[in-house]
């Protein structure tokens, strides 16, 4: 027995992350999943698979003073069981133990370097992180450089969101919604002339003017916060040195204590002839001076559907070519409803199909492109002409060819995203935030939050970790989709169908009554965990203003709201959101959730 206790003690002392476990144990499985999600390597001692397992378990219990499994030890410290480990993760003690903070962290005195912190990438994450770090009196520099798209498009400071993402997207989505509102206005008494036209160039100019004013605003704010801005491309020479090249080719060298990679992603092109030469992506669409005309959007991502949605909404003949499912990763019931709605609003879908070639028929303007594609169900090859072909089939992280591989920074081979633990990469003084990270929601507010908290941990003696769970989000397709928590598919696979209760209803916004829009297009559902007091684990709203509706429910999820809490909350009338407080029909009951007619 004494020998076993010695063995246990030395095992604990020699292992970075050690889990005393039983292979069939559910709580042990959960704690292992936690470490896997954080990219932390662990050693699991499966007591049930050991010959002297029972005796070993006694020894463990004697040494750590805890019997129930799992028992987690980090760097010689006994953290505890599943609950204690989850708590240590949430309040930062786990990260502190693993040495991801500066106080017991990788870089000592940073004053020997040109900058205490170098941020590569001036987007949502990079700007938030750099300004927060400068706020602690640190010497901070931001490198931001946009390599032009294959079509030659480039943009200013601010990253994807400001220039070729959220901001121009939402403005163009609004343009398309306004077009619909103008038509609906007739039912409310407005004497609208039949001949209301949309001018694409007016929209693009207005959107670009706003984007440029934001570029300027960011330059001013960096100056304000004492952050050095360099419009230059950075390549790593070593762990503390970066070579920079500006637009004119002038080279320079910068040394730094810490570096945060916030380089984000860029759209992928398919490997088919003509794609790069004649196709565009979201990088080019929002500043397109020529008319899109008859447009083909290849892809089923939210980028593809949102763009197809607003292009059709402002009057262009729009087709969406989809390889298999819509909105991979999102709730599929809602995804299909979005597709059906888009189809009724005039977006043509070709699915399942993939493009095989893009050829130039005539330069124009208007440009004419011939697209050859394969229908996947029959194998039939067809061709069709379009004025514009846009690819929205995925994005690759901007981590290639800048010297990271040579430094040993580990990445996801599929798309180059960085593997990280509490935003720290496999190289101790190199961190990542935002879209460039693997396995995190690719959203602006997530990058901003991660950036701010990282700066506080590195330089502000704080320990709060970024909480990536239950991040609310919205897809701005013509019919908007807001969600927080799990999709129905994920809820079922995680908890088991018998433990899920899905409350749902169709609804008709009051504003849709006079213009006689369909009563059962809009829909919402609340997914609850019966094994946990009917806790709300997934919320989905498909309807107008879904983003505004969903934000508040994000707070409810943070507070661990249950179905009872939703029911106890009195609704605001007349709104769409109030139906979330009066849900009674369950999917299990089989009752039709449609609303009654007039």
């Amino acid at each position: 027995m004494a020998d076993l206790k010695d063995e246990v003690t030395s095992l604990i002392g020699a292992t970075r992350v050690l889990i005393f476990s039983e292979s069939w144990c559910d709580r042990c499985k959960k704690v292992k999943e936690l470490f896997e999600s954080l990219n932390i390597e662990y050693k699991a001692v499966e007591l049930d698979q050991m010959e002297n397992g029972a005796a070993f378990h006694d020894a463990v219990a004697d040494v750590v003073k805890q019997r129930p499994l799992p028992v987690v030890c980090v760097l010689g410290n006994v953290v505890g069981g599943l609950d204690e480990t989850l708590a240590a993760h949430a309040d930062g003690r786990l990260g502190a133990l693993l040495g991801t903070f500066s106080q017991n962290g990788p870089v000592g005195d940073t004053s020997v370097y040109d900058y205490d912190l170098l941020v590569v990438g001036g987007g949502s994450g990079g700007l938030a992180c750099s300004k927060a770090a400068a706020g602690f009196g640190k010497r901070v520099a931001v490198l931001d450089f946009v390599k032009p798209s294959p079509q030659g498009t480039s943009w200013g400071l601010g990253g994807t969101c400001v220039n070729v993402g959220c901001i121009p997207k939402k403005l163009m989505h609004q343009a398309s919604l306004l077009g619909r509102s103008i038509q609906d206005a007739k039912a409310f008494g407005w004497q609208v002339s039949e001949d209301v036209q949309h001018k694409w160039d007016v929209l693009v100019e207005a959107v670009q003017n706003h984007v440029k004013s934001l570029n300027w605003g960011y330059r001013v704010s960096l100056q304000d916060k004492d952050v050095k801005y360099l419009n230059a491309f950075g390549e790593f020479v070593d762990q503390h040195t970066v070579k920079t090249v500006n637009r004119r080719g002038k080279e320079s060298t910068i040394t730094f204590g810490y570096v945060v990679l916030a380089t984000g992603m860029r759209p992928k092109y398919p490997e088919i002839p003509g794609a790069k030469e004649f196709g565009i992506t979201s990088d080019d669409l929002f500043s397109m001076k020529t008319l899109p005309g008859k447009t083909l959007i290849v892809g089923a991502s939210y980028v593809a559907l949102e763009c197809a949605g607003f292009l059709a909404g402002v009057g262009f003949d729009t087709t969406c070519m989809v390889r298999s499912i819509l909105l991979r990763g999102f709730d599929q019931q809602i995804a299909e409803k979005i597709g059906s709605h888009m189809a009724t609003e005039g977006v043509r879908f070709i699915r399942p199909a993939v493009p095989t070639k893009v050829e130039l028929v005539e330069d124009g303007p208007p440009r004419r492109l011939r697209v050859e594609f394969k229908l996947l169900e029959t194998g039939e090859i067809k061709t069709e002409e379009f004025n514009t072909v846009m690819f929205a089939i995925g994005r690759d992280a901007c981590t290639q060819g800048i010297g990271l591989e040579q430094l040993g920074v580990k990445m996801n081979p599929k798309n180059g995203q960085l593997l990280s633990t509490y935003e720290q990469t496999s190289v101790p003084n190199i961190y990542g935030i935002g879209d460039v990270l693997n396995g995190k929601p690719e959203l602006t507010p997530v990058a901003i939050q991660a950036g701010k908290l990282l700066a506080r941990r590195l330089f502000g003696n704080e320990t709060t970790m970024c909480d990536y769970v239950n991040v609310p989000t919205t897809v701005f397709t013509p019919l908007e989709y807001g969600c927080v928590g799990l999709s129905e598919e994920d809820a079922i696979s995680l908890k088991g169908e018998e433990n899920i209760e899905v409350y749902h209803t169709a609804f008709q916004p009051l504003e849709w009554t006079l213009p006689h829009h369909d009563e059962n297009t809009c829909y919402m559902k609340l997914i609850c965990d019966k094994s946990d007091d009917e806790r709300a684990i997934g919320l989905h709203v498909l309807g107008p203003n879904a983003g505004e509706i969903t934000q508040g429910y994000g707070v409810a999820f943070k507070c661990g709201a249950t179905k009872k809490d939703f029911d106890a909350t009195i609704g605001i009338h007349p709104t769409c959101s109030e139906s979330m407080t009066t849900l009674t029909i369950t999917k299990r009951s089989g009752t039709d959730p449609s609303t009654q007619g007039c």
Binding site: G156, N209, K212, S213
Partner: protein
């Protein structure tokens, strides 16, 4: 009298002809210029013998487009004794921020190398005229 009528018809045709921009070279002294770089700013603004109004602007700025012609019109009354320098903040951001042009349009008056007055936004004509008077002094 006939010569006045002739002059009127000549000048109105001149105004509406494509020769007008070139014609201004002969009809009024050139007082407006785009600042090319920091060196240019030093030479033509800070070291100018005449007071210079500096208009910090950008292509994407709506109010700048409203202020521009207004400023130009008001300057006419000073008959070339005040010069107008235009600085595009996207081209010369460091210069712009050095003089405090964070919100635009941002206009300053420089006399003997010093900023003597300033205003922000597409101000009304009366405000602009007061500004120009204080710069002229």
């Amino acid at each position: 009298m006939a010569s006045v009528a002739l002059w009127r018809s000549f000048s109105s045709r001149l105004l509406s002809s494509r020769l007008w921009p070139a014609a201004t070279l002969f009809t009024s002294p050139r007082r407006l210029f785009d600042v090319q770089d920091e060196d240019d700013f030093r030479k033509r603004v800070l070291e100018s013998s005449k007071p210079v109004v500096v208009d910090f602007h950008a292509e994407w700025c709506g109010p700048c487009r409203i202020l521009g012609p207004r400023l130009d019109e008001c300057l006419k009354e000073h008959q070339g004794s005040i010069e107008l320098a235009k600085v595009n903040v996207d081209d010369l951001p460091d210069l712009a921020m050095e003089y405090g042009a964070t919100s635009i349009p941002f206009v300053i008056g420089i006399r003997d190398g010093n900023v003597v007055d300033r205003f922000v936004g597409a101000q009304e004509v009366s405000k602009i005229k007061d500004f120009l008077s204080s710069v002229q002094k």
